[in-house]
């Protein structure tokens, strides 16, 4: 068990390193000089350009920049923003809580509704309720989130004036954006849960349980569901990645602060250190969550626990 954890940890670190490398070269090899963008359209002397390049280390050969960056990252320093000179770490940490709350709430919505709908759908499989839920969840995953967001705002903020259309604040500010993402998430989870329940229902052990005379309720909820949730947990790990990414769109539509917004702005401004830092942050969370998912597997699934 300990060995498994260590191994997973090591792999995660390798992946993180790869991510750092990939993002670094992706951003640095692509066209467009960030300093030029910074001063775009303003008369600035070549000396200043050189000075700025030097300040951000952009005058060094690429491999040196890479090694320096790597070294700094290990010391927890992600550099500072090309745009406002603010340390990337500070900038991201200021934004992170908002994204975290948004992601967590939408995750919670997705799980609660997703599991509920998935279970109901599987229990009433091939009946009208199941058809309805399947249809709903397909719609959930097929609607563009920005469109859903626009429609929700139109309804709940502009017409009904129940909920704020934008911004950050109390819980009520979270509801619409989290609901928007939750619609997709619940759709995904509902489908996943339904599928995996239906798969488990056909496992031979379910027949044994029935042969023992257990009521259908405990067969389904105690045995089948618990078995079915194991694969669903992976899905949830992946979903978190989706939701984090979805924050880019949602935060911009709802004018929320957050890492997604920072990334979008930084990408458009080619603020390399910020883009790198933000992607690394997202990637680390993703890796961490999936590591936790892997380990939680071991807790839920005894077959892996003892392996």
């Amino acid at each position: 068990m300990l060995r498994t954890i260590l191994y997973r940890l090591l792999v995660s670190i390798v992946v993180l390193l790869c991510t750092i490398t990939l993002v670094f070269f992706l951003l640095h090899l692509l066209p467009g000089d960030p300093i030029n963008i910074k001063i775009a359209g303003n008369p600035v002397s070549p000396e200043v350009v050189a000075k700025l390049k030097h300040e951000f280390g952009l005058d060094q050969p690429l491999h040196k920049q890479y090694l320096q960056y790597l070294g700094k990252v290990f010391r927890g320093d992600f550099g500072k923003s090309l745009v406002d000179n603010e340390p990337v770490m500070t900038k991201l940490m200021a934004q992170f809580p908002a994204t975290l709350w948004l992601t967590l709430l939408s995750m919670a919505i997705s799980i609660v509704f997703g599991v509920l709908l998935g279970v109901v759908s599987a229990v009433y499989r091939h009946r009208s309720l199941d058809h309805l839920i399947r249809l709903l969840s397909i719609f959930g995953i097929s609607m563009p989130t920005f469109w859903v967001a626009i429609l929700l705002v139109l309804l709940f903020s502009v017409n009904l004036q129940w909920l704020p259309a934008s911004g950050v604040g109390g819980f009520q500010y979270l509801i619409l954006p989290a609901a928007t993402m939750g619609i997709v998430g619940s759709g995904l989870i509902a489908r996943m849960v339904r599928g995996s329940i239906l798969e488990v229902v056909h496992e031979p052990f379910v027949r044994t349980l029935r042969a023992k005379g257990l009521p259908e309720r405990s067969v389904m909820y105690q045995h089948v569901l618990r078995n079915a949730l194991i694969p669903a947990v992976t899905m949830m790990g992946m979903l978190l990645g989706e939701l984090l990414a979805g924050a880019v769109v949602i935060e911009s539509v709802f004018a929320r602060q957050g890492v997604g917004r920072v990334i979008l702005d930084a990408i458009l401004a080619k603020d390399l250190p910020v883009v790198q830092g933000a992607i690394l942050l997202t990637a680390s969370i993703y890796i961490l969550v999936n590591l936790l998912v892997d380990l939680s597997y071991a807790i839920i699934d005894p077959r892996i626990r003892q392996a």
Partner: protein, 529 residues
Amino acid sequence: SNGDKNAPANTASTNEAPASTPTEGGELTFALAGSPSTLDVGVTSSDIDFRVGRNIFDSLVGELPDHTIKPWLAESWEISADKKSYTFKLRTDVTFHDGTPFNAEAVKVNFDRSADPNGKSVYAKQLLGPYESSEVIDESTLKVNFKEPFTPFLSNLAKSTLGIQSPESFKKYGDQVGQHPVGTGPFKLASWVANSEIVLEKNSDYKWPSPAAEHSGPAYLDKIVLKLIPEESTRVSSLQSGQVLAAESIPAQNIVALEKDPNYQIQKALLPGATFQLTFNNEKAPWNNVKLRQAVQSTVDIDAIVKSLYLGTFPRSWSPLSSSTLGYDSSLEDSYKVDIQHANQLLDEEGWKLGADGIREKDGKPLEINYIDITGNREKRGDIIKMVQQQVKQIGVKMNVSIMAAGPYVDALKAASYDLVGHSFAGGDPDILRTIFSKANWSTNEYANSNFARFYDPQIEQQLTDAYQEADPEKRIATYKELQQYFVKNAVSIPVYVFPYTIAESKKVSGITFDFPGYPQFYDVAVSK
């Protein structure tokens, strides 16, 4: 065309709130159309930073809509005979938010910092032009020296870009001063959550309001919460859902709706400077041919564009200078009209014959306009091009539109590989013409610059120089009018619209005013219960 002729810059359009005694206290929630990246006005070049900065920093002088310059932190000034030195007498009762006294030394520190050729200042440096030095004569007297006469200086000085920051704050915060602005203004920064909100607090010691102010003493409001909402429709929804009391940069379609709504009022300020114009690359064939440019000029139906896209809320522009700029030549209005026949004739004369696919060609080459722009449909500029693209088809011109990310866009500017580019340049003084048309501002291999027209004519260059050194306002204005006539006649660029900076606010809000370049001032604002 749109009845805005000779209108003052500030037009509180619809029903102004009844002028009763303003309520003191309370807070204003205001939706800002972006996220300031820094409030270090001396360094940045971004409008949104200056808009917020306007309320934190005061300037030495103020400019009224009629372009007269009035004292503010400077009580008076004198211009030397050679027009190269300005001596300011400063107020002595002013302190920064951090308690530092405001004095000649403080102003010198600010100017020197912005003018430092190796410093990071972008726009302030430009506004200081041929700045040479500042001399502290005494605690309250400062002499500013230029290398050559520089008439736009006083107007530039009125902008928040040259607003005075606390010299202590430079020492204390260094690089980070943009996150910790300290000025002498009616409001001071209370908190700032990036991408979310900036909170300004009343400066209770304030008693040196701008010349345009309507009251004295501290501001009425206790607090201003600036919500940062770049997404325009979200901004509007926030206003409509009552989340904010006022919002800026309202898109045309919402202006129309909000104007009809009895709960809201709309305020507009036509921004001075270079209007949004489609600028030809005057150096590159075939568009270095004035006939060809003129053909396009008489084809593009600006009225149709402005009507479709801005629903009449943006006035069309006739000159490279905005109508609120000093020296604007209103005689250019209606000076040309859409005339497809004329355009076709011009092209025929130049030997561009219609090809089989409806595109004109000469020597086997099709007549194409390569237009470049940056991502994002800011102020519907992308939509303008879409319309232009369709319109020039009528005269057999093919327009290729490349919308690029910032990086490649700047690269393309440097490489001068485009035929047409759209841009505007905010600025108070007509000297802005030099920014966009002087040879000194051509892009080089090293960096992109502001003369996107790649325009150069020795005679015009001389006139541009003369105009900014000329101290006599009459003569100066006359030169600028001549220049405007020239640029329009030669179709160096095609002016499209004048940008009205627009604020929509709840009827509860009164007293939002604009300074001269058109930035909002909250000093006189009151919110009724």
